[in-house]
């Protein structure tokens, strides 16, 4: 299976935040088929899917790679008398781009097409160009109320219609590159690792877009030497300030922040430089906005760094990434995994005792 095919198949599996259970088994099967290198697979509706690859060496340190498997979406909150599904956001999506957007509704007895309603220009006054959040949150499924009630219930989830395509210069456009493109980068990087002195855990966590529950559960894995969280970053676009984004085609970015492990961040950045892997830096002082924010300081704390694949149009049906950046991210994952045993965390015993 080629990388692009793997990405397309991964994106097609529904894993709306809070409803990840719908796609965990199928995702686990796909990852195992693509990577064919893991010794153990664990599935749990709270933490997600966890793969373990042992290096076979005694007392090997554990390194963890995390990417979130959940995606933004919507949840059915009611059925109107006219037969429309009223929905609420599940994760952050901009209601201004919903009108006339096609969706897939995961009903009680199958998957159905739907379209968010919109108002045509013939019925709008020229001065009336303000987005209406309340009106934006209704989905047309082409049914009357009775038909709706036989196929849908309050609590059904909805995702953007999956359309994954290529643009020029090997760019990929699709909904849900956040964060499935990073899952692909991690899998691509891990699958061919041969010379590793660490046991590797790949964690595809739930709930990043909503509750953060998956990230918190990662912290309870014992004795993690260090962790690399992979999530997407804003790619350069005219409407985004330079300080808030990174470039396409210049590799992954490493995030500098007060809320990640600075030493580990430098270590990973230097891995890229030593191996001539294109890499960028971005600064998010107060928070990286990723699972690293939870993993770093939860329970007994885990040294964390953040690596990102740049994408445009984040949280829209048309997110764009460069396949080249995914491949370079995978190379960095591979390089880091092979050197991670050399990383020394801050943790040490300065003066021995029996109380701590």
């Amino acid at each position: 299976m080629e990388l692009y095919e793997f990405i397309c198949k991964l994106i097609k599996i529904p894993t709306v935040s809070g409803f990840e259970y719908m796609g965990l088994e199928e995702s686990a099967k796909l990852v195992n088929e693509y990577c064919n290198c893991f010794d153990q697979t664990d599935i749990n509706p709270v933490f997600g899917v966890r793969f373990t690859k042992k290096c076979g060496k005694a007392s090997a340190p554990k390194i963890l790679f995390d990417a979130h498997i959940d995606t933004i979406g919507f949840v059915v909150s009611g059925i109107t008398d006219e037969g429309y599904l009223r929905v609420v956001n599940c994760g952050g999506s901009d209601f201004r781009l919903l009108p006339s957007t096609m969706v897939s509704v995961y009903g009680d007895d199958g998957i159905y097409n739907g379209v968010f309603i919109s108002v045509p220009p013939h019925l709008k006054k020229e001065s009336d160009n303000k987005p209406d959040k309340k009106l934006s949150m209704y989905i047309d499924v082409g049914m009357n109320k009775k038909e709706c009630q036989s196929h849908f219930s309050i609590g059904n989830c909805v995702s953007f219609y999956i359309k994954t395509e290529k643009l020029l210069n090997d760019r990929i456009v699709s909904p849900y590159l956040d964060d499935k493109i990073c899952i692909a980068a991690l899998c691509e990087g891990i699958k061919n690792i041969k010379n590793c002195n660490c046991d590797i855990i790949l964690n595809l966590s739930c709930g990043e877009e909503t509750s953060g529950v998956g990230a918190r559960s990662v912290s309870y894995i014992e004795n993690i030497h260090c962790a690399l969280v992979a999530d997407v970053e804003f790619a350069k676009a005219p409407e985004i300030a330079d300080k808030d984004c990174v470039s396409f085609d210049k590799g992954p970015d490493i995030c500098c922040s007060a809320t990640v492990d600075g030493n580990l961040t430098d270590f990973i950045y230097n891995c890229a430089i030593e191996e001539n892997i294109p890499v960028q830096k971005i600064v998010s002082a107060k928070s990286t906005g990723t699972n690293a924010h939870e993993i770093q300081c939860s329970y007994l704390a885990t040294p964390c760094a953040v690596m990102s694949v740049p994408i445009r149009n984040m949280h829209t049906p048309c997110e764009i990434a460069c396949i080249n950046d995914v491949i370079n991210s995978a190379k960095l994952v591979h390089a880091f995994a092979e050197k991670a045993h050399l990383y020394k965390s801050l943790s040490k015993t300065v003066k021995k005792g029996n109380n701590i």
Binding site: G92, H122, V141, F234, A237, I240, T316, C318
Partner: protein, 338 residues
């Protein structure tokens, strides 16, 4: 045959106003063996004559427009982004959408600033149109400059949606489809057909078409706004999907001929044709221009109700098109009393 598949074949062909050549070629190939005369005028309208069993007491022209709403690329940035203007489309339905640029159908998307970076002011309004761009993945201006001046269309999914269908350009490929079906069958009376250009830019082809043919009566076959959606009630609904052919007495551009309206709605009623009228005076058709040509032409419209018209995912019911065809056949059979 009036089927969803047939409407799909018409609707998926590109034909933004001013660039109707592909849909024009398709229509001509569809009707070539059946029309008795086919001409293309200087505007690009396709004008046809079909001999019927009888000479018509009134010269009748059936009209549908070939063009669809879309985009024109008006500038290319140094980063290879395509800036554009729209034909008949509001900003509210273009954010986050897929498009196809030009005859080569280069795929692109109209993105949007990530929600994480929006300020409160951003959320309460749409971006200005001149700040939006189509991203085709080009790295620089050199890769993209050839698209300057190109059109772009929505890259839409044609799909079943409950008992309805969704896709682009039902306005007015449904009209084109129905006119083609009429041309392919035996007609009661000699009839003229006009597949017009430029309706979405102000009915620009209709004048030349109607002045060339000079009909006494014109039946405009269209897609029209249905707003039977959540939050709409009473007259604001305009017309309803699934409730049959829409015959308006008036819209935003035309007072339709009241005697035609009364006679045709009676014919529909007497023959159990499902039909409705429009309860909001809104929108417009080629009729607004046709009516005023050649000393005055009696006009009527027969339309398919379409939700989310002028967007990439219109929703309609093919059964309404079937009712429209039945009504058009009855108009042909009853031309002597109109």
């Amino acid at each position: 045959m009036i089927t969803a598949e047939r409407l799909k074949s018409f609707s998926e062909i590109d034909g933004v106003s001013g660039c109707e050549e592909q849909i024009r070629d398709y229509i001509i190939s569809d009707i070539y063996d059946y029309a008795d005369e086919i001409k293309i005028d200087v505007m690009g309208n396709v004008l046809c004559y079909k001999k019927g069993k009888k000479r018509a007491p009134n010269k009748i022209m059936y009209a549908a427009h070939m063009d669809e709403v879309g985009f024109y690329i008006n500038s290319v940035s140094d980063d290879g982004l395509l800036y554009f203007d729209t034909i008949g489309i509001l900003t509210s339905v273009i954010l986050g959408k897929y498009v196809l640029v030009g005859k080569d159908k280069i795929r692109g998307v109209i993105g949007s600033k990530p929600i994480h970076l929006l300020k409160d002011d951003d959320r309460s309004s749409y971006p200005e149109l001149n700040t939006l761009y189509i991203d085709i993945g080009a790295k620089n201006k050199d890769e993209a400059i050839r698209h300057l001046g190109s059109y772009a269309v929505f890259d839409s999914e044609f799909a079943n949606i409950g008992s309805c269908i969704t896709g682009k350009a039902f306005d007015d490929r449904v009209g084109c489809m129905l006119l083609c079906e009429m041309i392919k069958q035996d007609l009661e009376y000699d009839s003229y057909f006009a597949f017009t250009v430029g309706e979405e830019t102000g009915a620009r082809g209709a004048s030349a078409a109607s002045n060339r043919i000079k009909p006494d009566i014109c039946v405009v076959v269209e897609g029209t706004t249905a707003q039977d959606v959540a939050g709409s009630s009473g007259a604001d609904v305009v017309c309803k999907v699934g409730e049959g052919a829409t015959v308006p007495f008036m819209d935003g551009g035309t007072y339709y001929d009241i005697s035609l309206y009364n006679k045709i709605t009676n014919i529909a009623r007497n023959n159990n044709i499902k039909f409705q009228t429009k309860t909001v005076v809104a929108g417009g058709t080629d009729a607004q221009i046709i009516q005023r040509q050649n000393g005055g032409i009696r006009v009527i419209a027969v339309s398919m109700p379409c939700r989310y018209i002028h967007s990439g995912q219109t929703v309609a019911d093919i059964s309404d098109a079937i009712q429209m065809k039945k009504l058009l056949d009855l108009i042909d059979n009853n031309l002597d009393i109109l």
